[in-house]
Symmetry: C2
Subunit: 411 residues, 2 copies
């Protein structure tokens, strides 16, 4: 856990209201860190609908495989998350550690193994000492309260510099429901999935298939539009839980139910808020970078160009150096391999044109651009000029702090 | 031009013998730098076969477009290369600068416009002050000698810390022919094409189509197997010239001519030597990294996995930190999206097993691995375990020096 808070952190940590049907607790199990919490439990006493999206890594962690197999069941009673050890690339030992953790959680909560969901974050390739959970699990279940969100968000941090929380309410056919979420990110963050771990909780009565549809659509322009360093984790996990404790609200069983619209909007706002916080806490980030690409042949094409820019070390180091180096943006557009016409390409920084129709802008406002580059939030706009596809992604600059964090993380 | 020579530089700069039919000269035209040469001319008094491979960027530089259109003609009389300005993203001005440069070169040499080849490297998006060539061109033609290779290699450097030269001889049906080459690289280097600029010269009588075939095959496991920072330049250019001045040798008109075999071997050795020097001079490089992937479903698949590892900032920072962090290698294998089976994956550092069949190696020789990581050359081996495809790529570590170079290059 880094000691200096990112200068891009939100001014304050939001206070999350309770979500009926969700209780949380944390403990220090001593998985890797000393003197801090490293395990969190969420209990859904009356169960919850569950949905999840996971890393597309071909070498996923054991907990990702565990969840992927069980999310189809659609029903959750408990979520156990630890930091310090990712339980990834741990072979049979890793699978055993999952089964063991689920068993003690199921025993303490009083549910089936298949109703326990797991996530782990931290070092890869070392066996997870799951026995450590055994000593803390009964007390976690007992201690869990409906106010534990900030502590829970803190317990799952690794190189994060601040806890990431978001909340929203929505009207669901006349009843107000709550949506809470927290996430961790920082490094090894790239689309498919965009963050390492994120969890969203609501008291709305949403059927699992509907929750899954909401999640799948919701991540496209939120978590999957964030890239810190192009490296996709083995462990990326986003789980959503809907307890249905808001009993006055109607149970939503179809994704195209028109009553779902305000909920969908609030749900997406929570995902957007959390994913932006992940970008704001990219390892070593000193500037939040928003990249908007328009005029591409399709949304997909715009997205690929935007990610090519967002993942370019040369663009990211230029932004770190407050250098309005649009030549490197041109380079990144070109290397994306998507349809582009150099002589139609236009680029803005902070809305100020720096390149127009394939050449330097004639009335380049150097002072305004310089001032924009010196700020905490840098906006890069690209108009490819060949179509109507548009996409937006978020990243951060590449700084010496990133190298310091990652050159000595394990040792 | 950096002041500190890369610690990975070859012990000495090779002395290149003359290649009959090739004369070289350099000058200080003041394009951008002060007090150094920044333009080089190669003259082929009796003409030469020419072949070229170029960046696949969708936003190529004006000289790349110039060469691509003219290389089909197969005939060269002059090559003009400048550093300091890439003449990329310069619109009509850029095309005009190419035409102007070619015109004064053709005038001074006494050849057609279509026999002049051009390359530029340096800052993107600023007009190339081609008029500066006008003052130096006649003297360049006059001064050109057959011994100017080291000076020529120096004139095209940008952030390179040492000139990159290589030479070889080969027997061509009883006659000894010479192959000389020089290159520049350093930053914005990634496959398709692998280096910014490289030029190869031979006195062998090779038909243009054969030279093109040699080049296309030769780059696959050499220049296109080198990545410094995953960023593909707008300007990558590799041109080969064959003067045919070795008149005793037979003219080779078919790529499958068996007499070509020893020449092909020597030609590929020059490409391999130059491309390795590019990796050794990656911006900020402190360690040369060789990544070998085997057991993939195909060579192409192995290559994609190898590049995913080579381009991972987390792998590169770990190597910079001398950390045998094979978990990040697993991550990079997983994110490549290629067929892999976590439980069959094995990883070595310097030949020492660190992970076997999907888990940490049981008898991990920590001392030997540590010693290997502390060296100047780091070898990462990955066995995917699902097929017979194999590929090898070269990169360097990601250090603070890379950030220093690229956070302040333009300003």
């Amino acid at each position: 856990m880094a000691t200096t808070i990112s200068p891009l952190a939100p001014k304050s940590v939001p206070t999350l209201p309770p979500v009926a049907g969700v209780r949380l607790a944390t403990a220090a199990a001593g998985i890797r860190y000393q003197g801090r919490t490293d395990v969190m439990l969420a209990v859904f006493d009356n169960g919850a609908s569950v949905a999840g999206v996971f890393t597309r890594s071909k070498c996923p962690s054991a907990p990702v495989e565990w969840c992927r197999a069980r999310v189809k069941g659609g029903r959750a009673r408990a979520l156990v998350v630890n930091s310090g050890n990712a339980n990834a690339f741990t072979g049979k030992t890793g699978r055993d550690a999952c089964a063991f953790t689920a068993k003690i959680a199921a025993g303490a909560v009083g549910c089936k193994l298949s109703e326990v969901f797991l996530a782990s974050t931290g070092v890869i390739g070392e066996p997870l000492p799951a026995a450590a959970f055994d000593g803390v699990m009964p007390r976690l279940v007992e201690d869990a309260t409906d106010e534990g969100y900030v502590d829970a968000a803190g317990a799952i941090m690794t190189t994060d510099t601040f806890p990431k929380l978001a909340t929203a309410t929505a009207r669901l056919a006349g009843t107000t429901v709550t949506i809470n979420g927290f996430a961790k990110g920082a490094g090894m963050v790239a689309p498919d999935m965009g963050t390492m771990l994120a969890f969203v909780f609501t008291d709305a009565p949403i059927a699992p298939a509907v929750l899954q549809a909401l999640l799948r659509e919701g991540v496209v322009d939120t978590f999957n539009a964030v890239t810190i360093d192009s490296d996709t984790s083995t462990s990326d996990t986003l789980l959503a839980f809907a307890t249905g404790a808001a009993r006055e609200a109607p149970r939503i069983a179809r994704a195209n139910d028109p009553r779902l619209l305000p909920f969908r909007k609030a749900f997406n706002a929570v995902l957007a808020n959390l994913s932006e916080q992940v970008a704001r806490d990219g390892e070593g980030a000193r500037k939040l970078v928003e990249i908007t690409v328009e005029g591409a042949v399709s949304k997909q094409s715009a997205r690929r160009v935007a990610l090519s820019i967002a993942n370019s070390p040369l663009v990211k180091t230029a932004i770190a150096g407050e250098d309005a180096n649009w030549g490197r943006v041109v380079m990144a557009v070109g290397k994306a391999g998507e349809k582009a016409d150099r002589d139609k390409l236009s680029i803005t920084f902070g809305g100020f044109p720096v390149a127009v129709a394939g050449a330097a802008a004639p009335n380049y406002d150097e002072g305004s651009v310089k001032k924009h580059m010196e700020g905490r939030e840098v906006r890069v706009g690209v108009d490819i000029g060949v179509g109507r596809g548009k996409a937006r992604v978020w990243t951060c600059d590449l700084t010496h702090v990133y190298l310091e964090i990652n050159g000595s993380y394990r040792s």
